[in-house]
């Protein structure tokens, strides 16, 4: 039921039919009013108010509010507030937002009005926007390269095994890709997975994938929305070079206990939320678990039959509102995976994050946000069987605290200032293996610790209605500290094991190496008319923690290396330029963005690097330069019967490692494509409403195959055949093409049948998805394997999804 309140009495709710009848006359009135306003400078009145959700009472941001003639419009802010100046007259105001029923309201604007509206959810979430948060923000928003997505809006996209997936949704956007089907993480604008800052409720996440990369580790039911910053990165974010994914967890309902459940053949999700103290304290608990092993036993392949896949994740939070201006929340997140492929290899990995957040509004202009978090990520790679069975443990612990003071002087100026402190502790590598007598052999390799402190400043300034700036910066100080043993090498010679002259032992807390630097962040917006704008930005970003891998695919056990005497911080200069244009009252938006990124001190593995159980990683890695550039085009239809988007991105990414010594040089010092150099990416996403309760959606993705170092020739040394490889990343794996489709076939399937007397909130539906409709064998990775009768390894493509994957999911909430 909609609750529509008006502080003035002249609001009348009208039906759609009535609105059609009124349309012409209203249009005439409006035209007259617009004419009068234009030529006679008629005084205007203010229409303001708040839009909330009828479901949970929470304010809704980014709601489109516009006059029926589409000549005037605005969107709500993060608190659901909006303000619209209208000339005197009678208007039909349309309020629409994805996933909610559209409202049409007749308003007499002979004086200032306040309009508070609660929107109720639509039956199927298809009638509106696909990507929101854009609206006219696409044109008017300062941030270039920012995508805000609400989880409700992606629930009808095609899913893999019924799981609405945040990362898989990101992969449908231009500039975001992954190196293979099911590969871990995501790459933004040619950057490494480890160059993305993934924040969950403000806390860092070091692995965002389940089952290597088949699912993301976020339970979409517990997520409110997520922002991806891939161009301009505001100064409040730091520590990574390429992008920021900021994921916001849902708060529990403050008034009603609610349950949601989703039952699939391989996974089940449950969510419970509600008040602890009405209107004061709420809780939310959700869990997701897979029980997929049963289906592996049905497969005829003995390797798969003997494999094992298991994961679960848990989200829990409590939010307490002390009063209107003070809110405290605490959340816990846990993700756990066990993956074993036959008797060959496996991984266990686990993330635990505890975070707390306090928000205080001192007054309507000044507010303070304080976050604190503790997290750890532990991974074990193992060989489960045989004489060479082993366990290798790696991981990282961290503590983070951040505070930000925001001062909104007026609509034209906002100041944000704050500081952030982090402490990283890479846990020692521990290797365990039994010797031939069954005695345990344990080997430990100590790792490093470091702390990072930053202060930041952001100024959002609107100089003229057509010109805005965001000017700011971040200054970071980094300290690598003991206890740790640092190896020394003979000066003037390459850093290789043979040139080590000894080591220096640093005591607990003793400074080993310090770095600091300023990171300017600036963006500008030039608005040309109401529907066009040009945006540009320059950002410098620094990264003091390097992801290190030398395997063809990222693994959950990839190492993290802190900046130290031998590895300076990575520094990137990011330049972006974009043109934005909206059509049809912001219902269709288009953008064309270009970017260029220069990276210094990028860490790459040397040929034949041995990274694990090595306390001299400086002898296995080399430091070089990276660069990436590209253009991205997006055409997004946000409302109507058919919605969806079409995008194309051209992205290049290269690395050069050319040092004075050949031992520290890669690829002979010649520039080579990075692992993530995938020039062409093309996406089409369509969504169609089928009647009132059913929906269809489909997506098509094309990405150029990733580069790989391949065998091109061979020679003999005696009887032994030695492969000759191409230059690094000299070849490419086959291109990636995937078509998915999804049907939401009905709603309230069991209501009134099995559940005879359901409560009013009871809702259910059945979702059928078809993943990889073309049955294409998109590569997860390519590796080399030599069979018994072959002398030379041959390239093998592993396609973890080699056929159509249908899924059936039943969703219920009450």
């Amino acid at each position: 039921m909609n609750k529509i309140q008006s502080t003035k009495s002249n609001l009348t709710r009208i039906s759609l039919e009535e609105s059609k009848l009124l349309k012409r006359s209203v249009l005439c009135v409006l035209l007259i009013l617009v004419f009068q306003q234009t030529f006679t400078q008629n005084p205007t009145n203010e229409l303001k108010g708040t839009i909330t959700s009828a479901t949970n009472g929470k304010p809704i941001s980014d709601v489109n509010i516009y006059t029926e003639d589409k000549k005037r419009g605005t969107i709500t802010d993060s608190k659901g507030h909006f303000k619209l100046e209208l000339a005197k007259g009678i208007y039909t105001i349309i309020i629409d937002f994805s996933g909610y029923k559209t409202e049409k309201l007749k308003v007499d604007m002979s004086q200032n009005r306040t309009l508070n509206v609660s929107l109720s959810e639509s039956n199927v979430n298809l009638d509106e926007v696909v990507i929101t948060g854009e609206s006219d923000k696409n044109v008017r928003g300062l941030a270039i390269g920012l995508k805000t997505i609400k989880v409700e809006e992606i629930k009808t996209l095609p899913t893999f095994l019924g799981q609405t997936d945040i990362v898989k949704t990101l992969l449908l956007l231009p500039g975001v890709s992954s190196i293979g089907e099911g590969a871990s993480g995501f790459n933004v604008r040619g950057g490494k997975v480890g160059q993305n800052l993934v924040l969950f409720n403000g806390a860092q996440l070091f692995n965002s994938s389940h089952v290597l990369g088949l699912f993301s580790s976020f339970n979409a039911d517990a997520i409110e929305s997520f922002d991806l910053y891939k161009g301009h990165i505001p100064a409040r974010f730091g520590g990574r070079l390429s992008a920021v994914l900021d994921i916001k967890e849902k708060e529990g309902d403050f008034n009603t206990i609610k349950f949601d459940a989703s039952l699939g053949l391989l996974t089940t999700k449950v969510l419970m939320q509600g008040p602890i103290i009405n209107d004061k304290t709420s809780f939310l608990v959700s869990g997701r678990v897979t029980y997929s092993d049963w289906i592996l036993t049905l497969v005829n392949n003995p390797d798969i039959k003997n494999s094992s896949v298991a994961f679960h994740d848990i989200n829990a939070n409590i939010t307490h509102k002390f009063n209107e201006n003070n809110k405290f929340s605490m959340s816990y997140y846990r993700s756990n995976d066990r993956f074993q492929f036959s008797d060959a290899f496996g991984f266990n990995y686990e993330t635990n994050i505890l975070s707390a957040k306090w928000k205080t509004n001192f007054n309507s202009k000044l507010s303070l946000d304080v976050n604190g978090s503790y997290g750890n990520y532990d991974a074990t790679s193992f060989d489960p069987e045989g004489f060479d069975a082993f366990n290798l443990d790696t991981g990282i612990d961290y503590i983070n605290a951040k505070g930000m003071l925001s001062y909104k002087y007026n609509d034209n100026y906002t100041l944000r200032v704050g500081g952030e402190w982090s402490d990283f502790d890479i846990t020692p590598e521990q290797f365990q293996q039994d010797d031939s007598n069954g005695n345990a052999i344990i080997e430990n390799i100590d790792k490093e610790q470091a702390r990072e402190f930053s202060i930041f400043l952001e100024n959002d300034i609107q100089v003229f209605p057509w010109l805005s700036f965001s000017l700011g910066g971040r200054y970071t100080m980094f300290q690598n500290y003991g206890p740790y043993e640092v190896f020394n090498y003979q000066e003037g010679l390459p850093i290789v094991e043979e040139n080590a002259t000894g080591s220096t032992v640093f005591g607990s807390g003793e400074t080993i190496q310090e770095y600091s630097g300023f990171e300017p962040r600036a963006s500008a917006l030039f608005q040309v008319g109401k529907h066009n704008s040009v945006k540009l930005s320059y950002n410098r970003t620094r990264q003091y923690i390097h992801s290190v891998t030398n395997s063809a695919s990222p693994t959950p056990a990839d190492l993290w290396q802190l900046s130290n005497r031998y590895f300076k911080p990575q520094v990137a200069d990011n330049y972006s330029l974009g043109y934005f244009h909206n059509f049809n009252n912001n219902r269709i938006e288009a953008s064309l963005e270009g970017f260029y990124k220069d990276i210094n001190n990028q860490v790459e593995y040397r040929d034949f690097a041995q990274l694990f159980l090595n306390n001299q990683l400086e002898t296995e890695l080399a430091v070089g330069k990276g660069k990436a550039y590209g253009i991205e085009f997006l055409l997004n239809k946000k409302s109507g019967d058919w919605t969806g988007w079409l995008s194309y991105a051209y992205t290049r990414s290269f690395v050069t490692v050319n040092n004075p010594f050949p031992e520290e040089t890669i690829n002979n010092g010649i520039e080579f494509p990075s692992n993530f150099d995938q020039p062409h990416k093309f996406n089409i996403v369509i969504k169609k409403e089928l009647g009132k309760k059913s929906a269809f959606s489909a997506s098509l993705t094309y990405i150029t195959g990733r580069p790989i170092t391949a065998i091109g020739s061979s020679f003999n040394v005696g009887p032994t055949v030695v492969p000759v490889f191409t230059e690094r990343n000299g070849e490419r794996i086959p291109d990636f093409i995937r078509l998915d489709a999804s049907f939401t076939v009905a709603e309230n399937i069991f209501k009134g049948r099995i559940v005879k007397k359901p409560n009013k909130r009871f809702k259910d539906n059945l979702s059928i998805s078809f993943y990889n409709l073309l049955s294409r064998k998109n590569a997860f990775s390519v590796f080399y394997q030599r069979s018994n009768d072959e002398l030379l390894p041959v390239a093998k493509r592993l396609s973890v999804i080699g056929s159509i994957i249908p899924s059936l999911t039943y969703n219920v909430s009450f």
């Binding site: 034949f608 490889f725 159509i804």
Partner: protein, 362 residues
């Protein structure tokens, strides 16, 4: 429940079970165009009395067999000032009219430069176009391990060409090795030398055929710690038991003791050839040895020139050591047609010679 929904669920369940996790591994090929014409130099000098040969070739453009480089001037020099040129395509006289043995490549045949433990050696090559290459000095170690070998008959599983896993009876060769209390870098290769006889008018031709049953399966040991260990029961290879065991044959374990640099070169070869093949393997790279272009340090030369201290331990076996039902005369009436060429002239078998190995029993 609605009948249509039940049918829908049933169909989907069936399809899901049928198709889910139909992961697959299939072979793909790359049109590698960036590899070609790289110089390959391979050679060694040992402490034995063997002829020391250096091969020079270039990689082919499309990944085919390397192309031999002829007409080069090749020299070996030692650390006491001796220098000797190698002879191209040397014809070895075995004292038999049937088997003048031509050794392709460049062979050290004189006695100016001798392979002696503890000495360093350098290879120098000048191609016909005047380009000069040298190897970095490589020193022959002064120590060897003391090996003893034994064999067992066992079964190993093999995947047939038809995709069926079969149990194959094999002679498995094991090594016990006593290491010295000095740093040592070792490699063991397994070879099988067997006899094939071609009946002749005046006399039979007796061929000694050398095979490397596990060419990619060499064993490396890093003894840089210099601890006097006893390695026990280390399998170094195996050979399928077949008609090659009809006559007396020898299961050899060849020990090579290297410098650290040469050992690291072989470690890298091991890394790219013994690839077990998982998605998490380290991406490959071409092992680069110790040969360099004197005038162009950017040129990557493939191969390696090494000074190797070598020792061979062997086990002489005969047909009676193996199950009689798997070993028959390869040139019997039944088998002759299948082995016609090699039975008519056993020297047509690759790596065959009439030269009797020194360790062969009389």
């Amino acid at each position: 429940m609605n009948k249509r929904v039940i049918i829908l669920i049933s169909i989907t369940l069936f399809t899901l079970v049928a198709l889910l996790f139909t992961s697959c591994v299939d072979e793909i090929t790359f049109d590698a165009q960036n590899v070609g014409r790289q110089l390959i130099v391979n050679g060694e000098i040992t402490n034995g009395n063997r002829l020391h040969t250096v091969t020079i070739s270039r990689t082919s453009d499309k990944g085919g067999i390397p192309i031999q480089v002829t007409g080069a001037s090749v020299w070996i020099e030692d650390d006491i000032g001796n220098r000797e040129q190698l002879i191209e395509n040397y014809i070895e006289d075995l004292g038999s009219i049937f088997s003048p043995n031509t050794i392709s490549g460049y062979t050290l045949v004189g006695d100016i430069v001798q392979g002696t433990m503890g000495h360093s050696y350098v290879l120098e090559i000048t191609l016909e176009d005047g380009t000069t290459y040298r190897s970095k000095p490589d020193t022959m170690p002064t120590v060897l391990a003391n090996d003893t070998t034994h064999f067992e008959i066992g079964t190993e599983q093999e995947l047939s060409s038809g995709g069926i896993i079969q149990d194959i009876t094999r002679a498995q060769v094991f090594l016990d090795s006593q290491l010295p209390s000095e740093p040592i870098y070792l490699k063991w290769d397994f070879e099988h030398v067997f006899v094939r006889i071609t009946p002749g008018g005046l006399r039979d031709i007796i061929c000694f055929v050398s095979t490397a049953p596990n060419p990619q399966g060499f064993v490396l040991f890093d003894g840089s710690q210099g601890v006097a260990l006893n390695l026990e029961n280390q399998q170094v290879g195996s050979r399928k038991i077949n008609n090659d065991f009809f006559y007396i044959s020898s299961l050899n374990v060849v020990q090579s003791s290297f410098s650290r640099v040469t050992f690291e070169y072989w470690e890298r070869i091991k890394q790219v050839t013994a690839n077990v093949g998982t998605i998490f393997d380290t991406p490959g790279a071409t092992p680069i040895g110790n040969i360099f272009n004197v005038n162009n340090s950017q040129e990557h030369v493939l191969g390696h020139f090494s000074a190797v201290a070598r020792d061979t331990s062997n086990i002489i076996v005969s047909r009676g050591d193996f199950p009689l039902d798997v070993v028959f005369n390869p040139c019997s009436f039944i088998n002759f047609e299948r082995n016609m060429e090699s039975c008519a002239n056993c020297l047509s078998i690759p790596n065959s010679t009439e030269k009797k190995p020194t360790y062969w029993p009389n």
